[in-house]
């Protein structure tokens, strides 16, 4: 059994090793091999994950016992590594392996003929393997290791087309922005270890719950961990990297947005939920950041013109929802409004259930984006239009994905969102209203995108002949479309210990109707502006000109971070000052001492006139002085 758990994440890593050490250097003429290896390893991981899911369901308390392996011993410090097989891990494994497998299948068509074919699948394998390892990790150090590897892989994949300067810049940005969050995470790991002497997640949760890590200390540790999640999940204020991450190949975006990179942040909060929820301040921060990010990102999604950027903001917004879901339940737990045991499971269930559903429809939406750009050669939705007729499959699946993300009953997105909204209503009403507005915005921007890209007439250059994508891309999309409909019907929430929901019972609550109404309004507005043109988009833009500018410039966060903070304040400011200091003061002192010695020598040597008589005079005066000295003092 433990071997199975290890194999789940080691298989894709092994695939990476095989591709990069054997196929790439020696069999480069047959790059398809790397695809087969990747598919085989991830497929095997999927089967093993399914098997493990079954085992976990059967196991008492939904936890399988797993052994530890000793990694390092220094004195009384002994670091163990091991895997954790519980319901949370089992669900995440399914998400990651399914989405990754589908993405790999789709990639075969999308990456066909790319010179970096082997490299692509090597990175994809490593990416998947790292994420699986992250999910399975039973202690913080092990988790952090994979956490960083996931970051590395997204760096490599975002910058996959490294010859494009924007791609290289986006990759660097993604890594550094997430690393800022990781700073807090690492500090928190150190802090927790210093306090408790363990990295083990189970033990840490237990210690937090019994109050062994007290008050402020716990809050700081929890916030540190959350800052790691903020970076990875692109939450405000570290959200800027994700929209730029569009520079990678589209299947990579699908994987990053659906199942791996950004999901890691939410997963981390869920994994350490009992600990974070033990501190009211920390969990409140999670809820507020989540709720704020949801609406904040949605506003920007409404005005973007890049297909993938709109989806990127929708991801940030949906991740905000997940954080909100985790946060509000945690707030309930911290306030004592929910029984501890129930609440802890509920929070994880609420957050992860939405993550589960989101993974499928978001991957689907990105596949749609990839398919659309495959045909048109652009991601600018102003140059698309009319794709509905040329690409019926893409359109149909994209419509399903959109309806799902908007949260229309009975599609997948509805169920997770409903749970989050109802929990928010109970524990944080203000955040609830924000989330409701976000529902409206989500509907608006998704259908704006849909109408602009797929509706109307084609606006791009005439030279492009629009064609539906090949079957290798369509089949994964159809598969995901089915999942985007039905994934919400699966009893994932119950399995994780959350509330169950009945298929029609969900429609009995007024809140569901309210959110459906808002979503419908959003769709209607988009329909009015972008499909029927009853309201001119141009006049709207002019009426809200200042607002439009602020939002379309992304609140100037990129400028603030990159131009003002990094360039002006740090590199050209403080660092330049240090550089000057180093060259002129520190090194100046060294050179000054050396120069001073040389200069002094140059002056003093003037005494050596070479005139024998001067020396004689000096000797004479010296003798007189000595005699005088002895006559006076002797």
């Amino acid at each position: 059994m433990p071997e199975v758990a290890l194999a789940i994440f080691l298989l894709p890593i092994f695939s990476f090793v095989v591709i990069s050490l054997i196929i790439r250097p020696f069999l480069n003429k047959r790059p398809q091999l790397s695809w087969y290896v990747t598919i085989a390893s991830i497929g095997a991981s999927l089967i093993l994950s399914l098997w493990m899911l079954v085992e976990v369901i059967k196991a008492p308390g939904h936890v399988l016992p797993m052994p530890d392996y000793q990694w390092l011993v220094i004195g009384d410090t002994s670091i163990h590594l091991g895997v954790m097989a519980d319901s949370l891990a089992a669900v995440m494994l399914i998400v990651v392996t399914v989405v990754s497998l589908v993405v790999q299948i789709y990639s075969r068509g999308y990456m066909h003929g790319d010179p970096g074919y082997c490299r692509y699948f090597a990175f994809m394998s490593l990416f998947t393997g790292s994420m699986l390892g992250l999910v399975l990790a039973d202690n913080l150090l092990f988790l952090f290791v994979f956490w960083e590897l996931v970051g590395l892989c997204s760096y490599l994949l975002i910058g996959f087309w490294f010859h494009r300067p924007e791609a290289a810049r986006a990759a660097t940005k993604a890594f550094i922005v997430t690393r800022i969050g990781d700073f807090g995470f690492l500090a928190a790991i150190l802090f927790l270890y210093a306090k408790t002497g363990t990295f083990d997640i189970g033990e840490l949760q237990h210690l937090a719950l019994v109050g062994a890590i007290g008050g402020t200390a716990l809050t700081w540790a929890a916030i540190g961990i959350f800052s790691g999640a903020v970076g990875k999940s692109a939450q405000f204020p570290l959200h800027t990297w994700l929209p730029d991450a569009m520079e990678g190949p589209t299947p990579v975006s699908a994987l990053i947005h659906a199942a791996t990179m950004v999901a890691a942040g939410v997963f981390l909060v869920a994994r350490l939920f009992p600990m974070i929820a033990s501190s009211y301040e920390a969990i409140m921060t999670v809820a507020i950041i989540g709720g704020f990010t949801a609406i904040f990102a949605a506003t920007m999604g409404m005005v973007m013109n890049d297909f993938k950027r709109i989806l990127a903001y929708s991801t940030i917004s949906q991740l905000g929802y997940m954080m909100l879901g985790l946060g509000v339940v945690g707030v309930g737990v911290a306030r004592g409004a929910v029984a501890l045991e129930v609440g802890l499971a509920l929070g994880v269930a609420v957050g992860i259930f939405h993550l589960f559903n989101h993974a499928f429809f978001k991957a689907l939406l990105f596949f749609g984006a990839g398919s659309a750009s495959h045909a048109t050669g652009t991601f600018d939705i102003r140059e698309m239009g009319g794709l509905r007729k040329a690409m019926p499959w893409t359109f149909a699946t994209f419509l399903i994905g959109s309806l799902s993300i908007v949260g229309i009953w009975p599609l997948a997105g509805f169920w997770g969102k409903e749970q989050i909204l109802s929990q928010a209503w109970h524990y944080a009403p203000i955040l609830f209203y924000l989330a409701m507005i976000t529902v409206f915005m989500t509907a608006f921007y998704m259908f704006r995108l849909l109408f602009l890209a797929f509706g109307g007439e084609y606006r791009g250059g005439a030279h492009v002949s629009l064609r539906e994508s090949p079957a290798v891309m369509i089949v994964p999309m159809v598969l995901l479309a089915i999942l985007s409909v039905v994934s919400g019907w699966l009893p994932i929430s119950e399995f994780l210990g959350g509330e169950s929901h009945s298929f029609f019972g969900a429609l009995a609550s007024p809140m569901a109707w309210a959110s459906l109404l808002l979503a419908a309004l959003g769709i209607l507005l988009a329909y009015a502006i972008y499909s029927k043109k009853w309201i001119s988009a141009e006049s709207m833009r002019r009426r809200f000109a200042p607002l439009y500018t602020i939002v379309s410039r992304k609140y100037w966060f990129d400028e603030l971070y990159e131009n003002v903070f990094v360039v002006r304040i740090l590199v050209d400011g403080i660092f330049a000052l240090f550089h000057w200091f180093d060259d002129h003061i520190v090194d100046g002192m060294v050179n000054g001492i050396a120069g001073g010695t040389i200069a002094a020598g140059r002056e003093i040597r003037r005494l050596q006139t070479g005139q024998l008589q001067a020396y004689g005079l000096a000797i004479f005066i010296g003798i007189l002085a000595i005699i005088a000295f002895f006559m006076i003092f002797g």
């Binding site: 050596q608 070479g610 005139q611 008589q613 004689g616 005079l617 004479f620």
Partner: protein, 101 residues
Amino acid sequence: MAVGLEHFLILSAVLFSIGLYGALAKRNAVVILMCIEIMLNAVNIAMVAFSRYGHLLTGQVFAIFIMVVAAAEVVVGLALVIAIYRSRETVDVERIDLMKW
């Protein structure tokens, strides 16, 4: 007034000072060599005087030593002066500054 040790010593000191002044202030290398001779002879006078009044022969022996050394020194010194004169056409010590920094 009898001539005592002091008179010899004063003579010696005066001669030494004259020699020293000349050695330090004159610019002609030959004159400087002569002044050094004067200083050496001033010492000789002192030596002989001490020998006479101290009833010890050591002083006189030393005086002879000094004369021998002085003769040798003048030989070497004058040879150097001539050599320098040949190469630089001057015996002005202020212009002989080959060793100056």
